[in-house]
Symmetry: C2
Subunit: 360 residues, 2 copies
């Protein structure tokens, strides 16, 4: 029998999920407080528009903004007493607590968090492949039934995600450290640029660009996410504060006193950063691989980078990552090509043979 | 008459400078406490090895580690009473102060800071084009002679750099905000990952990777840089601390109290980050341009990215930047191609026509 999924919320995530599930043969019905959004989602083939005559769904996925997710989950549990209910909010503990406190039949509730998103929001930004190859965290609680958990797992696998199962507090602690605090750090570093003289921001290099790229994110959405995960974010921000204080203390000692111990403190923070950085997994979720970088000068003209990468491909070498660097006033770029160590020398000699300027 | 440049210090910067100046017809003599390093630099065509018979240089460039730069500058001023002397340390006020305090003939001293470097150090990593298209900050002080300043300017232009002139304190304040504090922030965020469970770091995405990329930098070099610019770095770190405290205060209010004002504080930090981020200049040192991103699915196989970029080039469209994204467990990548807004629609339709999966 075809599974009937009700999606509540026709934004980026809800509409993308509707399109993906419809494509996999699920029956999808849609609702949203905005009649325009729900009709747009239908036109994008995300499913049918639900009305008073639509029969009860087997599964409900709440794709509402994080600050109303719990309330919509509780309503859904009461409204459809036979359905499994989930939500896709990027924080899980606060939603779970509110659901448990409501007195609703929480056995049928399982949280989830598809690790997918875009800089843009709304149904118009939806895409069928949004979840493909992404992690989808399934977040059961103590009384979630096994049937409810496997139901969510089935949906996540159907849209091409990799399923990870973890409890709510573990999920929230993880995303605080790997997502929410990095967002705050990027915003805070970028905020320090606001009042700099023009000549000073002119010295910006690729390091600053990388650190602050996500500082361009949407403040409205991120305020909700941070508030929804306040406790776990606070724990990590306290670690950040302690390190910031230690650095300032060391700088104080260097500026105002004899600086004893200061260099050790600074070096300790930088070394801890080396160790933490080394824990970030590489491509495809595999253990971090020590890729090596081959840097090649690329003239700033249409087709030059393509020609370079064509030569890389023709050499039978798989490019693991690519970073294009332009400095202040550069008329050329430098392509940093990451490959497995064994490919470094073959690639360097082949590119040099073909006339590329390969850096050491 | 050929200008004779003595380079003191045959590391990455000194050797690269020697190679570049030799290539432009300068006479370069080299010295370094390490006989191996100086001979390696000579073999790389960075110049002749200086000995007791080498005649006096016209210009001395001190390319020693930051913590000994001032001392080497003072020695050079005393040793060659006719020469202009400069250094390339990435902090300028502390070097200048020590030179002025030494009683040496500081009129012939002009600081400089070529904004170029690599993750690797040493003569072996040198390259002739290290300074090409990079900013070279020339840092005169009150009694620097105009002749000394134009001499440094000539060297910077000869190696292909763009010359910016600013006083030492202005330089140090600028690099504190655009380079030194971003380094600390990246290290501190990465340090928070050290003790996470494996499942938590498994949720890392491209945002974390960008924020922490430079956390892999060399702690020894960076300890010297931070200590050398302690006062200016401290000023910016205090701004960081105030914002970290404000965020923690808001999270406290949300967790422990009624949260009044908390959302406004969080949103304020995120909005300030938007504003600061918008001030970072774009490619080629130009004013920031709102490039738009076209996202295209790239199969993970040799040559696929090249084929894509070949199609972009054939469409006559100039790629302004390129970012390759791989999520956890993805078998395909997404290439994010930045182009000027007017090229978005032509590029999208051309790529779709050729069978590429282009995201909205």
């Amino acid at each position: 029998m075809t599974t009937h999924v009700r999606i509540v919320g026709a934004g980026l995530i809800g509409t993308s999920l509707g399109i993906a599930l419809t494509g996999k043969g699920f029956r999808v019905s849609l609702e949203d407080p905005s009649p325009t959004a729900v009709r747009l989602a239908r036109d994008l083939r995300a499913g049918e528009v639900a009305d008073g005559h639509t029969n009860a769904p087997d599964v409900v996925v709440v794709a509402a903004p994080p600050d109303v997710a719990a309330e919509v989950v509780v309503t859904a549990l009461d409204r459809w007493p036979g359905a499994v209910v989930s939500d896709v909010a990027s924080v899980k503990e606060s939603v779970l607590r509110a659901v448990l406190a409501s007195g609703a039949d929480a056995n049928r509730y399982v949280g989830s968090h598809p690790m997918a998103g875009r800089e843009r929001s709304g149904a118009a930004a939806a895409r069928a492949d949004l979840f493909e190859g992404r992690a989808w965290v399934v977040v059961p609680h103590e009384s979630s039934t096994p049937a409810a958990v496997s139901c969510l797992r089935e949906i996540a696998l159907a849209v091409g995600s990799l399923v990870l199962v973890m409890p709510a507090h573990e999920h929230d602690e993880a995303v605080a450290a790997v997502s929410h605090v990095p967002q705050l750090a990027a915003s805070i570093v970028a905020a320090c640029l606001r009042d700099l003289p023009e000549s000073a921001v002119g010295l910006a290099g690729p390091g600053l660009r990388d650190v602050t790229r996500i500082a361009a994110s949407d403040p409205r959405l991120w305020t909700q996410i941070l508030a929804g995960n306040a406790s776990a974010v606070r724990d990590v921000m306290r670690l950040v504060r302690d390190q910031v204080q230690a650095v300032i203390g060391a700088l104080d000692a260097l500026v105002d006193a004899d600086g004893v111990g200061a260099l050790g403190t600074l070096s300790g923070v930088l070394e801890a950063g080396n160790l933490g950085h080394a824990r970030i997994p590489g491509k495809h979720g595999a253990a971090p691989t020590a890729y090596e970088v081959v840097s090649v000068v690329v003239p700033d003209e249409p087709g030059a980078l393509a020609r370079l990468l064509g030569d890389v491909g023709n050499a039978g070498i798989n490019l693991e990552d690519l970073h294009l660097e332009h400095g202040l006033g550069q008329a050329v770029g430098v392509a940093e090509i990451s490959v497995v160590p064994a490919s470094v020398e073959p690639l360097r000699s082949e590119l040099a043979r073909l006339g590329w300027r390969v850096h050491d």
